[in-house]
Amino acid sequence: MADLSIDFAGIKSPNPFWLASAPPTNSGYQIMKAFEAGWGGAVWKTLGVPVINVSSRYASINYRDTRMAGFTNIELITDRPLADNLREISEVKKYFPDHAVIASLMVETKEQWHQIIKDVENAGADGIELNFGCPHGMCERGMGSAVGQEPAVLKTIVEWVMEVAQIPVITKLTPNISHIVDPGLAAVQGGTDALSLVNTFKSIVGLDLDAYAPYPVVDGKGTNGGYCGPAVKPIALEMVKELAKHPEIQKTPISGIGGIENWRDVVEFILLGASSVQVCTAAMHYGFGIVREMEAGLLQFMDEKGYNTIYDFVGKALPNVTEWKHLNMKHKVVAEINKDKCIGCDLCYIACDDGAHQAIRIPDGTRIPEVIDENCVGCNLCSLVCPVEECITMEKRDDGSQHLTWDERTAAGNIPTTFNDDLAGGKGHYVPDPADALKHRS
C-alpha cells in the first residue's frame, strides 16, 4: 500500500489531509477528535489579539437540493484567550506527537509577531501559518487580506517572522487579488518556507428579500463574507497552478485549499503542485469522518497508478496546463449520442440550439436527437447537460497526424489580422437564417 506521509517544508504529517484554520480547529477538543478520525494535520484557528464575534455568522449557496455548494462566513479569528489555545496546543501534541499542529497567526506589529511566534513554538507547534487572507472583518483593521493584497507589506511581515521563527513558516494567501503571483512571489522573497492558498473570497452569497440585507443577516444588516466550499475549487486550482508553474516559486511547497471535499479534489490539487491539502467546508458540512473517503480514494488512485508516495505525482499535470496559443487546432471531437441510453429529455438539443452551435436536430416523430456532424464544433455542451451517465460522448475525429497551434500559425503569418479576414475560424460555419427563429409563428 502507498505511503501517504509527507514532509511539508519540514512539517511532518502522517498524511496530506489537514484541517484548514477555521471553526473546525477552534479547540483542542475538535483537533484531537479530527486526528482520531484520520486527519494528518490541523492548522489551528487563527491566534491573535482575541476578538468578539457576532451572532449569525455563516450562510451558504444551495444549488437545488445540494446544500452548501458554496459557503460564506463573517467569523473573525479566535475569540478564545491565547493562553487557553497555547495550553491546548501542548496537550494535543502530547497525545499526537506525530501529527502536524500548525498555528495560524494574525497580529499587527513586529513586536506582536515576534512574541506570538515564540509563544506557539514554546507550546510545541510544528509550524506557523501566516494568515494574510481573511477578507472580512480583520482586513478593516489592517490585517488579513489587507496585508495579502499589498505584496510589499506582506513581504515585510514575512521578513519579521523569518527573523525569529525556529519552525517552518507557511504564508497563506488571499485570492482577492488580480495576480496571485505578486503576493506569492513577495512571500517567497521574504523567505517563507511554504505557501498555502486560497483563503476565502470576498463575497455576498445572497440577499434576504424581506430584510433587504445580505446573508448572514445580523440584526437587519450584513457585511461581505469570505466565500469557500465546492464552488470555489476551480478558482483555487487555477491559482495553485499559477504559483506552481512560476520559476521563482515552484520550489516552495504549496498547501492547496479551496472546496476540497473528496479524493478527486485532493488528487487534482496534488497534480497541480500542492503537496498537502487543507479542508474546512467539507468538515463543517459532514464532520471529520469525511476524511475516510479522501484517504480511501487517494490510496486507491495511488495503487492503481503505481505511486508509492504523493511526491511521485505532485505537479504531474503542470506540463499539460499550457497557454491557449499552444493548443492543437487540428484536434477535432464531435458529440455522439447513444440512442439506447437516451431518455429523450432533449436538453442537449435545446442547449445546442439556444446556447451553442445549432448542431443537434430532433427528427420528426421522435424525441431522440441527432448530432449534425458538420455543424458540431466539439464544444462539449451537450455532453455536459445530458443527465444520463455516458450517454453523450465526445468522439475524436482527427487522426492525430496533424498539429498546428495559434502560436505556430502566428509564426507562419497565417492568422486573421483584419475584421473581414478570410482566415476567420467561423467563416463558412453553418448558422441558421435569423428568421428561422420565428418559424413557429407560421
Partner: protein
Amino acid sequence: MAEYRRPKTAEEFEQNFAQKKPLMNDTQAYYESSRCLFCYDAPCVQACPTGIDIPLFIKQINTGNKTGAAATIFDANWLGNACGKICPTETLCEGACVYNHQEVPPIQIGRLQNFATDSVIKEDKTLFKPGPSNGKKVAMIGAGPASLACACELRVLGYEVDIFEAKDKPSGLTVYGIAPYKITNEEVLDEVAYLQKQLGFQVHYGQSVTSREKIKELEDEYDALFIGVGLGPTRALRLPGEELPGVVGAVEFIEELRMKHEAVTVPNMVVVIGGGNTAMDAASEASRMGAEVTFLAYRRSKEEMGAYGFEYKLAVSSGAKGLFNVSPVEIVGEEHVRGVKFICTESVDGKLQNKEGSEFVVDCDMVIKATGQAKQGSFFALIDDLKINDWNCIEVNQETYQTSNPRYFAGGDAVNGGAEVVNAAFEGKRAALGIHEWINQ
C-alpha cells in the same frame, strides 16, 4: 382475516382509506422538485390533457414560488388540485417522465402539483378575478368538472354563469364517484369553494333539468348553454335475480360510500363484476370496508381488462382476488343475493364464447355491478336538434365543443363517454373559449 378491518369510526375509515398521494411536506417538495430536468418540449406536458406547464411549476416550487406554481397550474386546469390527486398520473405525466427510460423513478408530478395548489387553497390566496361584465349569460346543466371549468373560464371572460345541479354538492363524480383514498370530500369541495369565491359563478343545487319547459326557460334567459350532465346510473345487466337486495351498481355504491363513509356496511363476501377502473375502485373499496373476500370477476382475460394495471394492482393489494374468463349468467338468491352463477368463457378467433357446462356459483352477500353507466338519452331528447353519435354521446366540434344545436356546447363524460376528470376540465375550458368565440362572431 382480511387485509382491512371493518371501519367503525371516522378515524378507522380514514386509516383504511389513507390517501394514495398524501400531501407533500416542504422538504419532500424541495427534494422532489430539485430532481426535475426541465426537459425541452417536455413529454409530461404533452401527456397532460390540459397541457399544464409542468417543468415551469416544478421550477417555481423549487425556487420558493409556490403561489406562482399554483397560478401556472390553474391557468391551464381549473381543477388543478383535484387532478393532482386523482389523475392517473402513472399513465399520463408521470408515465411520460423521461426518467422512466433509465429506470429512475419519475418525478411525482401529481403530488408536487397538489403541494402548490393545496397551499393557495388553504391560505385562500386570490389568484384570479372575474373579467369586466360583458352582459352575456351562460347556463350550465350539471355541476361536474366540465361545467366548473367552463364556468371559471367564462367568468374570467366576463360572462355571468349559472350552474343547475340536481344534487346538493358540486363537482359531480369528483366528489361522488372517485375512490375515497384518492381524494377526500373536503379537498374536492374546498377547491370548488376557492374558485367560486374568486370567480363568483352561481350554482343552483337541487335543480334537475328534466323537462322541455325548463329547457325552454333556460334557452329564453341565457345566451348559450353548456351541457355537462355526465353519465347516468349503472347499466342493467339484464340477468335473472338482478333486482335482489344486495345487488348494487358501482356508481351508486361509491356514491353512498363517499357520502356516508363508515356508516355503510359491506358484507363479508362481495363479487364485483367488471374489468374497468370503476370495478377496480369498487373492489378496493369493498375490501377496505372490511369484506373478507372480494372477487373481481371479468368475462375476459386479465390482459384484456380496460383498467390500468396500477389500478388492478391496488385492488389486489387491498385484498381483492381476480376471477377471469367468467361471465355472470344469473344472480342467485331468494330474499337476498347469495351468489352469482358464472359460466367460463374462452376467446375463439377473438370472439368470446361460453364453455358449455362450465357453470359454477360463487357465494356472496353483495354484488357490485361495475359494467358501465347508462347514457343520458332521455335528457338529450329534451333538446332540439341535438345530434347524438353511435356511442350515444353528444356529438361536438372537437375544437369548440359546440353541438349540432349552435346555442349548446357540451363537454365531459356526456361527450367522451366516460373519461378522467382532467379530460372534463380540458373540454369545459375549451368549450368556454368556443362559447366566447361563437357569441362574439
